[in-house]
Amino acid sequence: MHSSDNESGAKAGAGSRSIAYKLADAQQEISVAEFFEKNKQILGFDSRSKSLLMGVKEAVDNALDACEEAEILPIINVKIERFEDDDYKISVDDNGPGIVHKAMPNVYGRLLYGSRFHAYKQSRGQQGIGISASVMYGYLTTGQSAHIISKISGEDEVAWEMDIVVDTKNNRPRITNDRAFTWDRDHGTSVEFTIKGRYVTGKQSIFEYLKNTAIVNPHAYITFQDPDGTKWTFENATEITPVKPKEIKPHPEGMEIGDLMKFAHSSNQKDVQSFLRNEFSRVTKRIADEILELAGVNPKTSPKKLTRDDCANIIKAIGKVKIMAPQTDCLSPIGDTLIKKGLMHVMDGLRPDYYATPVTRNPRTVNGNPFVVEAGIVYGGEIPSDGQVNILRFANRVPLLYQQGACAVTKAISDMDWRRYGLEQRGGKGIPYGPAIIMVHVASTKVPFTSEGKEAIASYPEILNEITAALRLCARNLKSHLNKIERRSKTRAKFDIVQKILPDLAIKTAKYLNRPVPALDRTITKIMNVVWIEPSVEKINKNERRYTYTIYNYTDKVRNFGLHAHLPKESVNLALFSDPCFKEMDDNGRAFWEIRELQPSVTTVITFELKGEMADTFAEEDIYISGISPVIVMGADPLPGDWGLEGLEITEEEEYSVEDNDEDEEDEILEDDEFEKEAKE
């Protein structure tokens, strides 16, 4: 993307609020319907398939936000029905906290209701134009009213239902059939509305949207029924609700002139100095004075009286004053463990070989807004390997399905040289090829988008750097996994020699010569010259697995060494502690086994079991060794430097590796192509 795009992106990034207010202003002169017609594109209703998706998205995002606010594990049911003339009915119900009766009309029947201008908080709702816009679009295109049911929790509460249409002349809800009734649930909301649309499958479909939503919201239980009546269920992968994001005051550096004017004019502060101090974060009296002096604005001015020029000067002054970066503890990233769980849960059908340990970066800021980047990579299995990798983009736990090419995520991926991480990529640029899914989540109090459509994250250098850093870490994990696979296949090859070929050779030569079959121990030891560690996993029950590591000493020396694994500590059971080689496990779940006096040509075994929700977060190949030269061990890596080793008495012995240079044994006759001519004719 060009830098000019970045700038426009920055402005556009000011968010739905500016356009929202434009929209509200516009009501004075033209009807909302007209405005809609003119601005369909930027509002996201530019195609029928997208309009339908938008309707679902607004309702689902609202439901997830509401549940998160109330710390409820969401259960969301989505249903699409097809009627004549491309009319589709969208039904979404949730078990959220519900909406009080009084507020229902405005939430669904009034554009921009509930946009609290000064609330800066990581939320799904900041994307898109709001559920009321979809309801209105539905009414404009089909003439059908929306049907809403909601009930809030409480002994005395009843459920309310009503039909709502948006009065497009003055942006007010019009209610019919408003009545209370007894609903069979404790709390929740149901919304049904009809919209002109087109139902599609594939990458930009409702199914894809919900599937991806399930990945980044592993706590949500989502069902979906498509127009043909087929029903899917995305069960929740965890019962841990996300940490509620904190609301913070805006940071001055993110302000744009329009925002600042609206903000100032709606402020109740008595003067502009206290307006700056009290309604922004990180602004002290000293800083407020400094800004106002530079801007040439009298600190005693009422914020309601600020002119456009005043605001412009204040913004200019903000750029010159050094202000502390915004607080970053207000964000709620998904976290590496839950990303992995979400990915595993949803991608399981593809049976991937590997989930690279996801990465959650530390928060950074861009334009006065804190943001955090998270990334994960899924590799192998039945993921198609012949095309470009699949990129999953998310902003504040909402999937982005459109405008992939314009997005910072795509740019960061394209700018990385993936060849060194084991993926194919032409010329080391562009979207890489291979059986991989790359997932990136950007969470922020205000995600900067390239345009009002909010489909692509703007390519600010700060954001690109963070995405790149997160991807590098994931990619490094992927590469080390691929290396492991390669090493393992080499070991496997040696194993084939000693287990299959050599015994055959011994039997066959003995038979030919009519002599006894020779013992192979010493030959095998010479060929392998490794300590070989082979993992195996046995699924005992759902969420219960037994891990067994078979350790073969194929060297001619007695071996002593340590084995280490980082286990989900709440998942271990007695099997771990009763293993004779087991020594200890620390508070973080780092377990340690000691292998003593393993004789040449002798095999030993360690086992443990993992049970419960976190059992599948441990990958069996993540086993480490200490106290032995890594060059003579196959199947485990040396302990990483940051493992925090204490009290290990085993000393490392010097040993140089016997590298086999004869792996590439030449078969030069073939290479010479001497008989090519025969093939040619």
Partner: protein, 363 residues
């Protein structure tokens, strides 16, 4: 069992014995075979042909490939032992199919079985015929005034003149062309033209070239088989006929000539037996392409690679070949021998060959 067969069997048993001893002593089984590469062929001034040099490649059980080779060697030795003991023989292709029952030692391609048979020849100093292995490929066709007898499978010596007693396509030689099978009786031909393509062979027959110039034609069929090369060598050594080779003008054809005259890299252990150092190259040479202004095709990337490989092939290390190869790289073109038809169907027999053969002092 003949002495040769007996010797071959003892030699094979020696190989198996060596591998057994390695295992018994707790060593890694291994054997060494001459490195079969252009890096390892040497000119033998005594015989005028190219043989393997002193470089060897180790087959060891340290690699899957090496271990597999050793296992196949033993299985093959055992199979040959069985054939020798029961007086049977098989084709290389049959052996490839028989290996289906060898479990891990099974050949993946027929090439593997051919290469292994050649390895055994190198290791033992015996020929594959001594192991009762034969190729299924048929040999060349010949046409010209040569009278010979062939010992048929029925045990009778059948006498034939290779013009009068054969049809247009000539006499097809068997895979075994040793003196016990084929005896030369009478020869009025004055020289031999070994021809790469069937089309050119037929052109010369149709134009009456063999009769007119007392030529004996041999159709090489691309890279000539062992039998064809052995047959040509016998014509040269026993009948004293000058040998000429007439091929396409492309890098692969140069290799055909090299295998006839110098010995092939693949069979350098038996070059003494197969190669005819006196054989001369008629063309098409790159100079012919220019001198006769022949229609050409562009060299492909593979062609270019082959030419460059030839520059580092010791067999082509002389002034003639270096100049011709460089010339071809320079012009970037190649030509088929049938491109001579540009000047009419008789041009090759009336003009091109007489001119070239006169230059060589044969006509």
């Amino acid at each position: 069992m003949s002495d040769k067969n007996e010797g071959a069997l003892n030699s094979l048993t020696g190989i198996v014995d060596g591998l057994y001893a390695d295992l018994d002593k707790g060593n890694i089984p291994a054997m060494e075979v001459a490195l079969r590469s252009k890096r390892n062929i040497e000119f033998n001034p005594g015989t005028g042909v190219w043989n393997y040099g002193s470089l060897t490649s180790a087959r060891t059980a340290k690699t899957v490939k090496g271990a597999m080779m050793l296992l196949r060697t033993v299985y093959t030795a055992d199979f040959i032992k069985g054939m020798l003991e029961s007086n049977k023989s098989s084709t290389l292709r049959e052996m490839y199919y028989i290996s289906e029952g060898w479990n891990n030692a099974k050949f993946q391609t027929q090439d593997e079985s051919v290469i292994l048979a050649e390895d055994l020849e190198i290791l033992t100093g015996y020929m594959r015929e001594d192991f009762k292995l034969r190729p299924e490929e048929d040999g060349a066709r010949i046409y010209g005034d040569l009278t010979l007898t062939e010992l048929t499978r029925k045990g009778e010596k059948k006498k034939m003149n290779c013009i009068d007693d054969v049809g247009d396509s000539g006499y097809g030689i068997p895979y075994n062309v040793g003196p016990e099978k084929i005896e030369f009786k009478n020869c009025n031909a004055k020289f031999v033209i070994a021809i790469e393509t069937g089309g050119m062979f037929d052109r010369l027959v149709e134009n009456g070239f063999p009769e007119r110039h007392d030529a004996l034609l041999v159709h090489l069929k691309g890279q000539p088989t062992r039998g064809t090369r052995r047959f040509i060598k016998r014509l040269n050594e026993e009948l004293g006929l000058p040998i000429t080779v007439f091929t396409d003008g492309d890098p692969w054809s140069f290799r055909i000539y090299a295998s006839v005259a110098y010995g092939a890299i693949k069979t350098a252990h038996i070059s003494d037996y197969l190669a005819t150092p006196a054989a001369q190259f008629i063309g098409i040479t790159p100079s012919d392409i220019l001198n006769y202004d022949l229609p050409t095709d562009k060299l492909t990337d593979k062609d270019k690679g082959a030419l460059n490989a030839e520059l580092s092939d010791p067999r082509f290390k002389d002034e003639f070949w270096e100049n011709e190869i460089q010339a071809m790289i320079g012009m970037g073109k190649k030509a088929e021998q049938q491109a001579l038809a540009k000047y009419g169907l008789d041009f090759v027999t009336d003009t091109y060959l007489p001119e070239k053969l006169t230059d060589m002092g044969i006509l």
